[in-house]
Subunit: 470 residues, 3 copies
Amino acid sequence: MAEADTRDERLFPPDPTVRAITRELYAQVKDLPLVCPHGHVDPALLADDQPFPDPAELLVIPDHYVHRMLHSAGLSHGELGLTDLEGHQQETDSRQVWRRLCENWHLFRGTPSKLWLEMELADVFGIHTRLSAHTADDVFDTLLERLAQPDFRPRALFERFNIEALATTDDATDQLQHHRRIRESAWNGTVIPTFRPDKVLDPENPAFQDSLRQLSEVTGEDATTYQGYMSALRQRREYFKQLGATATDHGHPSAFTAELNDVDAEKLFRRVTEGTPDPADAELFRGHMLMQMAAMSLDDHLVMQLHPGSIRNHDPQLHTRYGADKGADIPGTIDYVNGLRPLLNRFGNEPSLRFVVSTLDETTYSRELAPLAGYYPAMLLGPAWWFFDSPHGIRRYRELVTETAGFFNTAGFNDDTRAFASIPVRHDVARRVDCGYLAQLVAEHRLELDEAHDTAHAMAYARAKEVYDL
Amino acid sequence: MAEADTRDERLFPPDPTVRAITRELYAQVKDLPLVCPHGHVDPALLADDQPFPDPAELLVIPDHYVHRMLHSAGLSHGELGLTDLEGHQQETDSRQVWRRLCENWHLFRGTPSKLWLEMELADVFGIHTRLSAHTADDVFDTLLERLAQPDFRPRALFERFNIEALATTDDATDQLQHHRRIRESAWNGTVIPTFRPDKVLDPENPAFQDSLRQLSEVTGEDATTYQGYMSALRQRREYFKQLGATATDHGHPSAFTAELNDVDAEKLFRRVTEGTPDPADAELFRGHMLMQMAAMSLDDHLVMQLHPGSIRNHDPQLHTRYGADKGADIPGTIDYVNGLRPLLNRFGNEPSLRFVVSTLDETTYSRELAPLAGYYPAMLLGPAWWFFDSPHGIRRYRELVTETAGFFNTAGFNDDTRAFASIPVRHDVARRVDCGYLAQLVAEHRLELDEAHDTAHAMAYARAKEVYDL
Amino acid sequence: MAEADTRDERLFPPDPTVRAITRELYAQVKDLPLVCPHGHVDPALLADDQPFPDPAELLVIPDHYVHRMLHSAGLSHGELGLTDLEGHQQETDSRQVWRRLCENWHLFRGTPSKLWLEMELADVFGIHTRLSAHTADDVFDTLLERLAQPDFRPRALFERFNIEALATTDDATDQLQHHRRIRESAWNGTVIPTFRPDKVLDPENPAFQDSLRQLSEVTGEDATTYQGYMSALRQRREYFKQLGATATDHGHPSAFTAELNDVDAEKLFRRVTEGTPDPADAELFRGHMLMQMAAMSLDDHLVMQLHPGSIRNHDPQLHTRYGADKGADIPGTIDYVNGLRPLLNRFGNEPSLRFVVSTLDETTYSRELAPLAGYYPAMLLGPAWWFFDSPHGIRRYRELVTETAGFFNTAGFNDDTRAFASIPVRHDVARRVDCGYLAQLVAEHRLELDEAHDTAHAMAYARAKEVYDL
């Protein structure tokens, strides 16, 4: 099979009947625009529109999937070019960093990182060479050359990628200057913020006290009182909406929610804002504030996203030296059925609320999440998340969720990525895997072909647009 | 492929080798009689043998799989024709209810409800039209016409379905009048009760106190004393046996069992029957009574079925307005390995006891249930239950259970349904999926074809008959 | 298809494309030598090199997979030829025991036991007859005849099996006389011990006190003091190393680890060694000692293996009469992400430590183990263990682990068996399933064929050799 054909059939199930149906379904969705309602691209990238500096800065250093795997084989974060919290970068030679990736390319066999990176090199940069110690320098040089061209600047790529809308993720206190600059520029790309208030909702977040102070500053409210705090949050949500936001996002350690009356809530607020909070109080406060966020979403119609269950900073050595979000967050078990009960009891039957829930504990797909989303009008399931945004992971998601919740209680795909240039391949992987799953249903006579076409279109494009008002 | 062929191959794995073996295996089991040892059909249906009123009353209103999905898309239970606890039915026009199903038919793509309903329309009613807003009225009219014919009355369908025996599920205090009427009628169908004593075993059941009073009334024992209570239970089991019962069924919130001496048991009985019970006491009492049920089964040879782990009435709004069993029961995690330990330690090695355990927590299949059933002579596994009685669900059950427990520590299929007309298609789905799984084992040279034939027959028919003495 | 062909394709995925690639991959690994870094073969077997007594003593009585299944169907351990703790063997006629297996052969359909035993009969003994009541005596006689031949003695089989190295599992206090005898013999087979100190690390082990006394005796240290105890453990590890050991093994009930200072550790040691230990103290001590074992491994470079999560002796009747390891150990849930945190925080970033972790709770593969092993340099995943060392089990392991941890954070295969004659077929099953998985990746264009060849070789052979220094 020729190279082009091989890539054409990537991730299609091997069975000839199923593959033929997959090919047909995929043909109708592969060129649809990309709707990106949840991700972590830095908006400065598109505000500045500067060239990406080099392959290591583009593909290795910011990608925790990549450097966590290299670290697991014994390479230090310093050797991989990361800059520590004191601003020191041990390895400043990007070519060396890139070589370390290429020399260890076998570590990535079977992972989505390999898939994404190979597809990205091929589809975005036109490089079909396999990475290895032998090819490292050539590929590095080719990439460098490409990155220097105007066609490979962020905005040019945004257009080439056919991105219809891109949501970033932003602190509640962020003034969204980069978003303002994009809006005020002549460029027409749709880039919108997402309201992520973790730092002001979680008393155990190291930045909690500072963030409350900033919250007061940016709103003019006194966020040291419960009333002022709540007003400030409402004001900030409105500010985000004015800059295009259609959603909030919440990265809590658990799915715990709690119903408190105003008096108890105010007392609790005082306790958690004065000194080091008791862990039980912190959890109660987070649970209470998720409830308040749902109440506010009912008012202002922002989609509410919950991403719970990551045990952050499992490795304190890494955290102390390099900070958060560097690949040492590990999933734990999570209880949605009891945790979400207060919130769903109060808001679950509200058809206008869109409460999108994700998980890092796959055991909850069939046991809790699909049964809940398949009942409550307000609840929807986010796509397979993080470690599970992968061919097997997406397939398991569909197999474990669909029979109970169907397709239309899911919220469509999002790429959830910090790696801007990987956006199209991430969508492409999901489209391919979803088409393969739908083709299986057709081959087993559970769906007719036209039903599969319609569903593929919804999962690849229409559903995310509809759920997130994009 | 012609319509008939398409249906012939439904749910068969697409691989040509595996599909050919599946076809051969399925041909030998597809027409076997239906053995139905566990289900929720109302016996009045077969006692009265009245025509089904209309499509909505037959296919939508009583089926919580169907209306939970429609509810998840924002349709209210009132719009779906449900009657509330005060006897009010908001939507009395069945045609409207039926239209709401048809207009939202896309929600069911990939679910077993779609499969069951389409197979039921085709196989039972001869309707091959796809449901949609456009076809709703035509299908409604055709169904109405069919339902008016004598061939579509319950007993005629029972015979057409080739049901060899049908077990219902009945409260411990039920006088089984409908079963008596069936037995006293000229009709020969085998319909038997199942002893389901949840309401008299669970102090937290709202009907507990009333049920104890009824228990005294129907037995003449004083069920307010522990001795009288135990005698009454024994007497009731005997009464159910006289009307053909071969099994009990227990729907506890957990798999907790406990060994108590008589003195402590009597004290506990007094505590839980006087006023609102302490939750720990309630759990202890349920655990103790499961133990007593096993002891009684050892005496009277009733098969003991345990269905734990459903968190009932997750939505209090639904429960308050429409009551229980309306689609808002959500699974939780469950601990069989420690929970069942007291019961298995005392009774697990009794070869004459048949203790059939099911789960809504699929993580326990390979971790706990298969290892337990693959060791203890008394323990057997019930089929994939509730949300997991579906093509992927049954397949996962076989893949996760068989390698440790084999096929013969499973108890055969049961349809577990309230929806009488769906009985044959539910058996058919299980037969198809089991044949597909066995065909895979043959294609991978793990089984010879004759072994697969024999196993398919056991899983489709012989095993349930043998385990439940039918 | 002829008999030989059938066996050639055993466990290969049925899809023609995938099967062809599997065949090609498997051809390159099927004859590689066997590296066996973890197992439970009695070293006396190879020290004595006596003929195996008979089929029941070889294939039924020592194999808890086999007699647990027969027990689940109601056969007593006495009928199956087991000898109780008082030395009484109820059934002394091996032919009767063998007949009971053959009469119940259908129970094993779909299990790895059937696969292993059929492959073993065919590949090791040249017997292609299917077991049944009808064939029991013939097969018994043929096996008896084979076992009497010199070619079927343990050392001859060891050589025929092409075993490059075989590790046994030995108590910390074992003087390793059988290993000494093997080393001192003229025979060249590599048989090495593994340091398994459970009995001296677990205060709740019934043999704890006795084992501490033995520890003092064999080392000359006073193991009733904490200092003496620690010195004795170090000395014993050194002794094991001198006889070739490259690893330790730890079978704890949980994955709990704990960081204690020396003063607290010494106090704890006193508490748990004086009388019946408090359960919390026992757990704390085990957790502390896992930490100490990791510290010692950092010094002496023994690979550290952890096999947690088995709830031992679930059936007290069996345990009282026949003792431990007789098939009634049942998996429970396990928390690696919090349990291992202290150990990984202290040692996880040590590239020279090899900490190999296994699980009986498959939910942890994708949620905890792959994310941990895919980050920490010290941590590796052991192969699919015990109930999951099976075709579906190994496949699930690869599908759930690979996308996050890749292949090279796994430690290669080990057979983990007490059943010496089953060693080659266990490796063969793993090789076949791994090749099938890799072939799927190739067919879906996730790997090139040469990458799959290299990976298959690593998983079948090179990786275990490298990780365990064999």
